[in-house]
Symmetry: C2
Subunit: 288 residues, 2 copies
């Protein structure tokens, strides 16, 4: 199928053959190939602005907050004192925007490999790129994998906001990546990585969780609802070096007033716990 037909963009991928999601385009705002990937930004009739990398939807203005808030606040709220945070990837700025909201976070370091994604987001996706303006943030353009080799025992939380494991992000789903993150963490550190949907990519979910479990004494998969991702569901693998942590019980709980003042539109303490409650067929697979 063509990806563009009569002003409709169609997403299809070898990871989910046999079904596609399409949206109506008002305007193609940007389309170029960077050193690493094909980058498209659309204005759409129903999803607001949309960022597409290598033909795959990365985020839409309509629902990006669910993904960004959950990948940020799940690990931050499990950690007793998440002062220093590393973000690997996240070139649109959305994760930095939400990590910066957490009152205990003092310092954020971000390593994004593709300068073009940062530039394009600053120009066309300011609702996410506002994250780059945080005074807590130091932004590096480079390879997160290489960066961590030179930064041992430095971070309380490491968040990996990557694209899917086809293309530049493949190395971020391997066990040696989890081992490297472990070495870059302070004692009691926590990691959180994008880990696919259980509806379509159970193998990916199981492997990523196994790699994490091999390196971290506490590990689990948590889920959230993102309509414009395949199956409308994506999850995260979270690992903790602190064995006293119960991942589904946030150590920091926010009141509804605090949630509102941080402009958290998805995350709250109830949904934190709920994110770790999985369907029977998923439990069976990942506990086997």
């Amino acid at each position: 199928m063509d990806t563009m037909k009569k002003n409709w963009f169609t997403e299809s991928c070898e990871m989910w053959p046999g079904s596609t999601f399409s949206f109506e385009v008002k305007e193609v705002l940007y389309h170029e190939r960077s050193q690493f990937q094909d980058i498209q930004v659309f204005d759409t009739t129903s999803l607001g602005k949309v960022l597409v990398l290598d033909g795959i939807i990365q985020c839409t203005q309509k629902d990006e907050f669910s993904y960004q808030e959950m990948i940020s606040f799940l690990p931050l709220c499990c950690h007793k004192n998440p002062e220093k945070v590393l973000i690997v990837g996240g070139g649109d700025g959305g994760v930095a925007r939400d990590v910066a909201k957490h009152p205990k976070v003092k310092e954020i370091v971000q390593v994004e490999i593709d300068a073009k994604v940062i530039e394009v987001s600053k120009k066309y996706l300011p609702f996410m790129a506002v994250g780059f303006e945080s005074k807590k943030l130091t932004l590096h353009v480079g390879d997160g994998f290489e960066f961590m080799k030179n930064h041992s025992h430095e971070f309380d939380v490491i968040i990996t906001d990557s694209s899917d494991p086809i293309g530049p992000a493949v190395s971020l789903f391997q066990e040696n990546y989890f081992a490297l993150m472990k070495s870059a963490l302070k004692p009691n550190g926590i990691v959180c990585s994008q880990a696919g949907t259980f509806w379509e990519s159970m193998g990916l979910v199981k492997n990523t969780l196994r790699f994490c479990k091999n390196q971290f004494p506490i590990a689990a998969y948590a889920t959230t609802s993102v309509p414009t991702y395949p199956c409308g569901q994506i999850g995260f693998v979270i690992g903790s070096l602190d064995e006293s942590v119960k991942l589904d019980q946030p150590t920091t709980k926010f009141s509804l007033e605090e949630i509102k003042s941080m402009n958290l539109r998805y995350y709250n303490s109830d949904i934190h716990k709920a994110a770790f409650s999985l369907p029977s067929f998923v439990k069976k697979e990942i506990e086997s």
Copy 2:
């Protein structure tokens, strides 16, 4: 957009303009218009068998269990003794199949308006239509609304498994329908109705919940993940006449062994509680 192009079926609807979901068709198994609606059954490359009514996906073999188990077991497990259950709609048989699994259910009455849907499901969708073989079930072809006018104080639980509120199902989303269900319930009865997705149909969610709250002292919205529904998310409005019930705390809890022996692939007691934990933006809307 055409709904069929080069063996791909595309679903689009005025309820969610600007985006579409498409799947690849192996074979069109059935396509006719009944007295009430257009009925299509497909065999597909990635979703198994699919039932489509008036151009809208009703269920796919891949993920129907999430919807059917949740719309059945959420109300059944909130009720202390759900002996007699009424199902309105559910012509594919999936809800009857799952309601019959609950050990406390003795008698199921089902009222489906379209005999053609039952017939087609028995022929092409036996994994759901197996529900019609239950010895607990009495099946009526007719209008659920009219049926209830002649059946007062008779049921412990009423489950409304309807299509979306455009077409024959419109009347099932009005306040007088909730009033009618209330009159058909025994004391301490519980109702559960399909109530749309908060991502796309917040107005529908809010209205349905308000109608329920106007008639029932206890009412809430619960959510589940269904990849082939719009936004991959759908919810239910649940109302209880028993004021001592806490909807997010099942009165009947099943062990993992029991879940397995009932072949419940989605529902479990953890996910029961999680279904009532809603994103901040949804809480804000429905509590306002």
